[in-house]
């Protein structure tokens, strides 16, 4: 059953007199538990696609069904609710709140969901444990490495038990080893039943997905399944370093 189902979705931006067609009649669906990488150069429309799938933006034309619900016509309030309950985001630049502990960063989605403080704390600690950062719960972002910050962001994305995690260039600011660490997490999440949609322009990163979609000029150029490279195996094979 398709979790994401886009039918002839277009997105047109108006910049003054110029119309920019960011997406042209894109039809695309993703089944549950899939791990999909969306590739493409900058300006290919992959970010726009991700924003629409992530309910941050609405398509100009076409329909978008998320978990069989039409969401392309919802208002900002309803979209916020979907982002809160059904989705999790991971960004290239981590986007953690500064001067706020890892635990509190992870708690943030639950706060907007109205989860009581005690329950919130428990679930946030649990999520941090899942990304193997339980010992850093009270550190602030500026006291952590990039890899650790991104793991906090992953914990924040999964704390509300979402159906779908949307990751926009999550390894763009990370070195190769921490990249693999993050990919281990995504593969774990996918096998645990969370659909992962990963936007990247690095083939090495896309290699860990089970399906690769390539975009160009607002259209899907290719869409293929592949035997995913196992991140955990890579991590084990890599020479031991002190992971910061």
């Amino acid at each position: 059953m398709a979790l994401i189902d886009l039918t002839q979705v277009s997105k047109v931006y108006r910049m003054g007199d110029v119309e920019v067609h960011a997406l042209r009649d894109v039809s695309f669906s993703v089944t549950e538990r899939d791990f999909v990488a969306v590739m493409g150069s900058s300006g290919s429309g992959k970010s726009t696609l991700m924003n629409i799938i992530g309910c941050l933006d609405r398509p100009t034309a076409g329909t978008y069904r998320l978990d069989s619900h039409e969401v392309s016509t919802l208002d900002r309030r309803a979209l916020a609710r979907i982002r809160n309950q059904t989705l999790g985001f991971v960004f290239q630049s981590f986007n953690l709140l500064a001067r706020t502990s890892a635990l509190e960063n992870v708690e943030l989605p639950l706060m907007y969901a109205g989860v009581p403080a005690r329950e919130r704390r428990r679930r946030a600690a649990e999520a941090l444990e899942r990304v193997r950062l339980a010992d850093r719960a009270h550190h602030h972002p500026n006291q952590m490495s990039g890899g650790q910050q991104q793991r906090v962001a992953v914990a924040r994305a999964l704390v509300s038990h979402p159906r779908l995690i949307v990751a926009d260039e999550p390894t763009g600011n990370l070195d190769s080893r921490t990249t693999v660490e993050i990919m281990v997490l995504f593969q774990e999440l996918a096998s645990a039943g969370i659909t992962v949609l990963l936007v990247t322009h690095e083939p090495d990163v896309a290699a860990y997905a089970s399906r690769v979609v390539v975009m160009r000029d607002g259209r899907i150029r290719s869409d293929a399944r592949q035997g995913a490279r196992q991140a955990a195996a890579d991590l084990a094979a890599a020479p031991l370093e002190v992971s910061a």
Partner: protein, 408 residues
Amino acid sequence: MNPLETFRVALRALLRNKLRSFLTVLGIIIGVGAVIAMVAIGEGAKAQVEASFASMGSNLLIVMSGSTQSGGARGGFGSMPTLTWDDLAAIRREAPSVKYAAAQLRSNAQLMSEDQNWATQVSGTSPEYFQIRNWKVERGRNLLDSDLDSSAKVVVLGQTVVDKLYGAVDPIGQTVRIKNIPFEVVGVLERKGQSTMGQDYDDAAFVPQTTFGTKIQGGLQKYLAGTIFIGAVSADATARAETQVSDLLRDRHHLPMGTDDDFSIRNLTEMANAQAEGTRTLTTLLASIAGVSLLVGGIGIMNIMLVSVTERTREIGVRMAVGATPFDILLQFLVEALTLAVAGGMVGVALGVFSAGRLAARFGWPTLIRPDVALIAVGFSGLVGVVFGLYPARKASRLDPIEALRFE
């Protein structure tokens, strides 16, 4: 997000920039502080005026005789006796809004104790006089109706006279000579202080009006050679009492329509109200100047909130991405502005109370802190916070999450 949570988040955001938050609310602090201090000074002045009028007597009217006219020269009020003892009796009897009425006949006289002497004003009056003026006897007894009936040679003294003639000695039962006639001191009045003009109320002696007429200043038979003090039944009734007395006297004096009164009535309550009105105007003026500074403080809050929204655009984007609704964001910034303003208001009240106290101590100005004014000031600064916080908060809530997340 529940309100308490929102408040906690707002408080943390404000405490993260302590100096900036403080500088932002400085305008509110000074504004509220100024309002509190100014109103305290204004209210203090008003209370002082009211107290000094209250010490003259409550709901007081003073009726004076008309003026003489010899040749072209016209005497002042009271120079020609037009009021009669029957007028006084008629006022007591026929004016419903009059509670008490009493004559006061005045003369300056030398008073002598055994070893001291002192010139003061001796008044002939009746017991009602002390009711009208709210003047109680501290020691001994007051004048009695029986003293009037028997023209008793008794005197009640003001504190100043007691101090001058007797010092620390108990004057009750002592003999004081007024115009060489011995009077027995039967009572001492409580201290009343000074009038607004600086006249010492306590520098006075009171004898029965009958005794006054026979022993101190020759009686005028049917005419009342002095003034009539009237106490109205209530503060609201003074104007009514004034009209009743005026109508009654005009009727009794057979004055045709269109002619001037041959007497004059002073309404002390009206005068007090006029004075209070003056101080109220002053208070309003001071408070509105202070209110303007409060407004300026509000603009300061708006300014900083706008900066803060721009600065925290990314944070807003993150919050929206993880599920904050536009309303959540609006509320967060509104609560920040409100928290700033109310905290500033409270500190301002403290500052106002403190500076009012300093002014009182330094310049001897009477000040009066009214809790309701403090409450209103804090409430008003809260309102300022909401009004000036609304625009930045709306701006924040309307941000596009994608743009916000991309913001550098």
